[in-house]
Symmetry: C2
Subunit: 382 residues, 2 copies
């Protein structure tokens, strides 16, 4: 049986409707028993020998073999080869999926320009029920806008044509860490850290703030080193004061640009200013974004600690009762700008590493005003 390519769609007559559409979910019914196939569908039927050839009425009117139709389609339709590889892979996995093009079954679901394929639950047909996956086909060198990725499935085709699937979601943070800090903690700003020489009980052990300055047989065992982010967050709440900052100086409150949301009048302005200034010196305005994320997580009773060893900004613990009995940290958080574009290779690296240490990878899309959108990404086997 031949197909007929007209206006980029392949028309097939005969018993195509019963044989291809009704039995196996290919194409879209047209007049009578005729169906219309998208190029990827026609190429798939050609490769399986279900179609004999496609007559190219858009061009030469030649009868094209699979190879010829594939080459012609790759020249005529954007990212055809990638879309075909993913279409074929999902067919092989037992799905009756549909290309997301206007008027196609299920296409109403494709409210996102990135969506290429609509995949109904296994065993059902496009349009019969809610899609199981809304698939964006992506080449490994394409760039992915962070703020458009929520709630879809990425099928990333690498340079050797292997496909990996990633699913995205918008997670919530809701922890149960209830340690409350005593007032009046003081510290010294030393380079990229703040040392609290005489930390109160539970500061590290229950609040999981900082890291003890420990040396075997030391005569001091109360010193705790804070990162600049931890220290700035505490100073912003008035819970930490630097021993050499004069918190009565009103000049210290003159922050105007990129104020962090909800933070216009910290209780210890000079300490907060000094720490934040040092943070910006070593990290630029990324420091403010990381600080906003840190503060929001603490506000939700989640404990963020450095994610350095995992290449992330933070690892997070939902509920810390004591460091001696520390739970597994559940998530890795990377802070990116709201208009960040992911390189699929970096995304793959982050997600793979997180999976390997049994954590969920979460991106904090953080605006200069401190507003945060969360995006989690994880591997998926359809």
């Amino acid at each position: 049986m031949d197909g007929h390519l007209r206006n980029g769609v392949v028309e097939v007559g005969g018993n195509a409707r019963q044989q291809f559409h009704d039995a196996r979910g290919y194409g879209r019914p047209a007049d009578g028993n005729e169906i219309r196939l998208a190029r990827v569908e026609a190429a798939h039927l050609l490769l399986r020998g279900d179609l004999t050839a496609v007559v190219d009425h858009d061009g030469s009117a030649d009868r094209l073999s699979f190879e010829e139709f594939f080459v012609a389609s790759a020249a005529a339709a954007e990212r055809f080869a990638l879309r075909f590889l993913v279409y074929a892979d999902l067919r092989d996995r037992g799905f009756y999926l549909a290309p997301a093009r206007a008027g196609w079954p299920g296409a109403a679901e494709a409210d996102n320009d990135l969506i290429d394929l609509i995949v109904p639950p296994r065993g059902t047909k496009p349009g019969d029920s809610e899609p199981a996956y809304r698939i964006a086909v992506v080449g490994e060198r394409e760039s992915l806008p962070a703020d458009e990725l929520a709630n879809l499935t990425l099928a990333v085709v690498d340079e050797e044509s292997e496909i990996s699937y990633l699913e995205t979601a918008t997670p919530e943070f809701d922890g149960g860490t209830t340690y409350s800090l005593p007032a009046g903690i003081t510290g010294s700003l030393i380079g990229d850290r703040v040392v609290v020489w005489d930390a109160p009980d539970g500061f590290y052990d229950h609040g999981f703030y900082g890291q003890p300055l420990e040396v075997r047989e030391a005569i001091i065992d109360t010193a705790v080193q804070l990162s600049l982010v931890e220290a700035a967050a505490l100073a912003a709440e008035g819970q930490l004061v630097l021993d050499d900052a004069d918190d009565d100086q009103s000049e210290a409150t003159t922050f105007t640009a990129t104020e962090i949301a909800g933070d216009t009048s910290p209780d210890s302005p000079a300490s907060y200013t000094a720490i934040r200034k040092q943070g910006r010196r070593v990290e630029g305005e990324r420091f403010d974004r990381r600080l906003a994320v840190y503060r929001m997580l603490r506000d939700r009773q989640v404990v963020p600690k450095t994610g350095y060893k995992f290449g992330a900004d933070f690892r997070t613990y939902n509920t810390v009762e004591s460091v001696e009995d520390l739970p597994h940290s559940e998530r890795l958080v990377r802070v990116v700008e709201t208009d960040h574009a992911f390189d699929p290779r970096e995304l793959s690296l982050d997600v793979r590493l997180a999976g390997g240490v049994r954590k969920r990878m979460v991106f904090a899309l953080t605006g200069a005003n401190g507003e945060i959108d969360w995006l989690s990404v994880s591997r998926l086997t359809p």
Copy 2:
């Protein structure tokens, strides 16, 4: 016992030579029983209570406690807090280590400006034998020049003052993959890949070139998709010709800029040119560097395949006899420019991921002329 700070060095008299130097490897002998301590050594002895105070003859002549000496030293000496943390950690691990400063024991070994600490084998003293580790102390936000990192140990201090150690080396590649290609392979350039419709026996199964274009119940089972790098490498050797390239066109040989070493006269100039042009279009001049690395590895009988899933450029197999019986890939290779500077966080991410999948992380420092220096990095517990 007090120390006396003069010109940035802490002098200690009494029985200091026996008690601190001879017994425990601190400092450098001076006149009589006196020793001279670097600041990190003096701080360590203060924190353990072995020194009572340090009299600051460089400044106020006050007797400084540990806390005061620490704050003063952090203000006076670059990266003091970081160096102290690493010094103390290695002391706790049982090493008698020495700061790498001119005239200090073992300091002659510190021929690299990055070296901060010289660590002799456990149980021996600085200068008695070859160092076990030559340590560069690095803050997590410092930038590390790739071409100065060979054969040292990085002690990276993260923002929360935790330390991780990385060791570097210069690995060799020497594989045993001996598949030899038949002549006369042709393919079609389709977007970011080249499809060889009628691949010869063993092309994929033994040479591990490309990836079969597979669909269940397909009528064609000889099609293999090559990445642009694989295809360009084959075309450069005259082993692959594009079916729509005219390899007699002499104009195609007019490459002059950034020629790849040893590759001035490919046997199939037009095919090579067309593939390389497409490679540069999608990847810029990075394509040429990756191609140089790919070709050198194949030349050493090592098989490079994409490292996309690991966030790397390649994973490598030393000896492939058949894909059916594929060994574990031994290394991940990331291609960087010769003057690349690593961000410790990215380095940590790469090395951790590689360790998690039991591979060695290797960086290919690749010049525009195709010259390659190899650098492997792995985690270490001293």
